[in-house]
């Protein structure tokens, strides 16, 4: 059976073999020792015709709850934000999505220009001097920041707030294993980092203090105060921030952060069951030559015309090999393009509006949900678009019951923090309506009764 993805016909194969001077395809495999050959066909499911395959895929996808089939209050690092229509259409242009990394700049100016725009927008939002072309996701961006802080300061410890997403902390631990960087936890007993306690942990061995704002519990951290703690000990401050919030919240760079990382999924990237995401990475100028990942810079061509290239490549693995600042090669360029088009669409005022609407609706939801008997806010600290509820019934069971009513109620925190077995993390984006929130509160009332 001919495949629609392979052009050569049997007749063409024969003619090509004739040019090569081989009698058969088999003759081209002479260098593979007989004992290394697979003597049977691969044990895979047989090929499906397109219509049958679509039916199969639709059946699989229908077994998942999604943000269309349910009203979603899920967050914890992946959010159901507004995605303007042009994004999907523009990234689907073959010139963008079928291009390779722009190693031949003259034939890649489209991609290079969009990355340069992306770097500019991310640097602006985070309040930093420079942003790279992307890392895989927020968690791996944080891990790279830890490695960079270690290399920049030549110090062996990183102090991580317990307010940082536990999944991010886990990824950071994986990356710090090889270089032997010691990770120390700073407590966040009241939903925000205890900076007085952190101050005792941050010392001459500390490469960086890491906080997240809003943090995993939804609470806002005092970035400026954390910067003082870090800088007093000669350590760097790394801030994990969600760029979609930075229309309203101050860029962490303006408050003293040395490196800002985060998850950019909210900037027009589909949730897609957790990936691909968009690892945002931005830093101060003095750290640029230690940065991981690709950087695009402006230059001129032979005729003096403006053009763009990958630059400062001596940091990277394909040049520096074992001494590279990072092993990253493939990044998430197309997700960065989604974010670029998103930020161009929302622009100066739209991004502010997204943040204002999310905040207003989240606060309304918190107020409304805590009118349910036995339900309360777990932490008193100010929050942004996400908050931690304490429930009178086991959150897992509440979530299951609410799913039957069409709500994805939130993330039970038991598996993330044993101290929060009775807690549910609820996220409210600008997409939720008052009617949905009211209905959710009504359903919650029944579920915990």
């Amino acid at each position: 059976m001919a495949s629609r993805y392979i052009a050569n016909t049997p007749d063409e194969q024969k003619r090509m073999l004739g040019v090569i001077g081989a009698a058969s395809l088999e003759e081209l495999l002479v260098k593979i020792p007989a004992k290394a050959r697979l003597a049977r066909p691969l044990g895979l499911a047989p090929a499906l015709a397109e219509t049958d395959l679509i039916r199969h895929m639709k059946a699989l996808s229908a077994r998942n709850a999604d943000a269309d089939s349910h009203v979603s209050f899920l967050g914890a690092g992946s959010y159901d934000h507004y995605v303007p229509s042009p994004i999907n259409h523009l990234i689907s242009r073959g010139e963008f999505f079928t291009a390779y990394t722009p190693y031949q700049p003259e034939a890649s100016q489209g991609t290079l220009r969009t990355i340069y725009e992306y770097q500019t927008m991310i640097a602006e939002l985070t309040g930093m001097d420079v942003a790279n072309a992307s890392i895989y996701d927020g968690a791996s961006s944080l891990a790279e920041a830890a490695l960079m802080a270690h290399a920049a300061t030549d110090r062996g410890e990183i102090v991580l707030s317990r307010g940082v997403n536990p999944l991010y902390r886990r990824v950071t631990a994986t990356y710090c294993e090889g270089p032997g960087i010691r990770l120390r936890d700073a407590a966040a007993p009241d939903g925000v980092t205890d900076l007085a306690a952190a101050k005792k942990l941050v010392g001459p061995k500390t490469a960086a203090l890491v906080i997240q704002t809003p943090n995993f519990y939804g609470c806002l951290e005092d970035v400026a105060a954390a910067a003082e703690v870090a800088h007093a000990a000669g350590a760097l401050l790394v801030v994990v921030a969600d760029p979609v919030n930075l229309g309203v919240l101050e860029g962490p760079g303006k408050l003293g952060a040395d490196i800002v990382v985060g998850e950019g999924q909210g900037l027009g990237v589909p949730m897609s069951f957790g990936g691909p995401n968009l690892g945002v990475f931005a830093a101060k100028n003095e750290l640029v030559r230690r940065m991981p990942g690709r950087l695009v810079g402006a230059t001129v061509d032979r005729d003096g015309q403006r053009g763009f290239v990958l630059t400062l490549q001596t940091r990277e693995q394909h040049i520096r090999r074992a001494k590279a600042t990072s092993n990253i090669c493939t990044n998430v360029a197309l997700c960065a393009l989604m974010a670029t088009i998103y930020l161009a669409t929302l622009g100066r005022r739209g991004l502010v509006r997204v943040g204002e609407l999310s905040t207003a609706k989240a606060h309304y939801a918190a107020l409304r949900l805590t009118t349910v008997s036995g339900v309360s806010l777990r932490f008193a600290a100010p929050f942004f678009k996400e908050f931690t509820l304490k429930l009178p019934k086991p959150p897992e069971r509440v979530v299951t019951r609410l799913a039957r009513q069409g709500f994805l109620a939130g993330v039970p925190l038991k598996s993330f923090d044993r101290g929060l077995v009775d807690c549910l993390l609820v996220a409210v984006t600008e997409k939720r309506t008052k009617a949905e929130i009211d209905a959710f509160a009504g359903a919650l009332e029944k579920a915990v009764a």
Binding site: P102, F273, V332, A435
Partner: protein
Amino acid sequence: MGANAYDKLIFELSSPGRVAWSLGEADVPEADARKLLPENYLRKDAPALPEVSEFDIVRHYSRLSRMNYGLDTHFYPLGSCTMKYNPRLNEDMARLAGFAKAHPLAPEALAQGALQLMHELAQDLAEIAGMDAVSLQPAAGAQGEFAGVLMIRAYHLARGEKRTKVLVPDSAHGTNPASTAIAGYEVVEVKSLPNGEVDVDALARTLDTDVAAFMITVPNTLGMFEPRIVEITELCHAKGVQVYMDGANLNAILGITRPGDLGFDVCHFNLHKTFTTPHGGGGPGAGPVGVKAHLEPFLPVPVVTKNGDAYALDWKRPKSIGKLQAFWGNFGMLVRAYTYLRTMGPDGLRSVSDNAILNANYIMKRLEKDYDVAVPGPCMHECVLSARRQKKLGVTATDIAKRLLDLGFYAPSTYFPLIVEEALMIEPTETEAKETLDQFCDAMIQIARETETNPAVNHDAPVTTPVRRLDQTKAAREPNLRWTRRP
């Protein structure tokens, strides 16, 4: 400047007051977010983002896209990158709401379709590579390498062995030594034979109880199958050394031979190469990693498991190396690769490698008179030529690459592998038709002729692209990494 000339950045289109977004009014009582949040946490001024219309955006990015050569518009013979056609069905399937709009932390009972897809894909990849288990979590090949090396490290440590070195051939991709170094190992480069093969005697002398792993690409980066590979893996195992296969070149061996059967303990897959997920101008990709049974306890968490008809995420794996990204992998890419596997089936996959090999050999044969062949064929899925003959006439691999852009082709990989002088690494893939290969070969032969008769045309190239050769030195010496308004 031609009709397609365009030199704008989105910021330069901004006109205060224009909007491209549509968000409703707040429908909740307390709508002023600024009263709900502490003032000192708030941004003082609105961010300096562009103010443009929706049509401004559509036209701007459409025009920018036309400044790219994509695989859809141009033959892309980039060696080692497997630039094969990206099926549109894959794109449609990845956009089904049940996949694209699924949240990673939805209750498992409401994510059974996604988990089933992951479970089946992992099993299929294990079968293709002859491995016992596969983790889909690594986001790209380099992260797959990193995970693989960390598993090897954990394995040795669990056996009470503290080995400190990893051997990597001098022909390896740059990510191999970089990933290994980040995993905490000293990287020892092993010299290849002039034909790109492993110097087995030299390797045997280097292997000792301090070596944790040998990392090697099969077929190698010269496009050749390593003839003594089984001997090599046995030699390594005799010294307790784990053997890692960089799976970048898997497109050459589907259904022909399997890394696991060759004796490899670990290998990674680039779903954005062999399994048709798009390259996206640099990513996202996906770099699943497969292991033999003895390394299975060390896989990243969570692992997708199946009990009866129910799929679940298993976190209770005390020996795991941990996590690589926040969630479970680049799921959107996994959907595309799964769709491709179900489209092709076992016979289709075998035919992929057969035709990829045929196409590469055809190119090598047609160009062998005009360029030096790095190693005599037959090759596998790619061939490496050297422009050393042209260089003597003053035309380098870079010049040839740039001239190809003018003749309507993207360029081969150049100056890689490092062990070949003026390397041109050409990988046509199975999805290209004979007439495209012929056009490309004709262009390459034309360039060889021009090198003898009119080298200036190669030095001047490219002249048809949106910009001409760019000043890389200026870019690095005076970094300009973000746009600022011209004063």
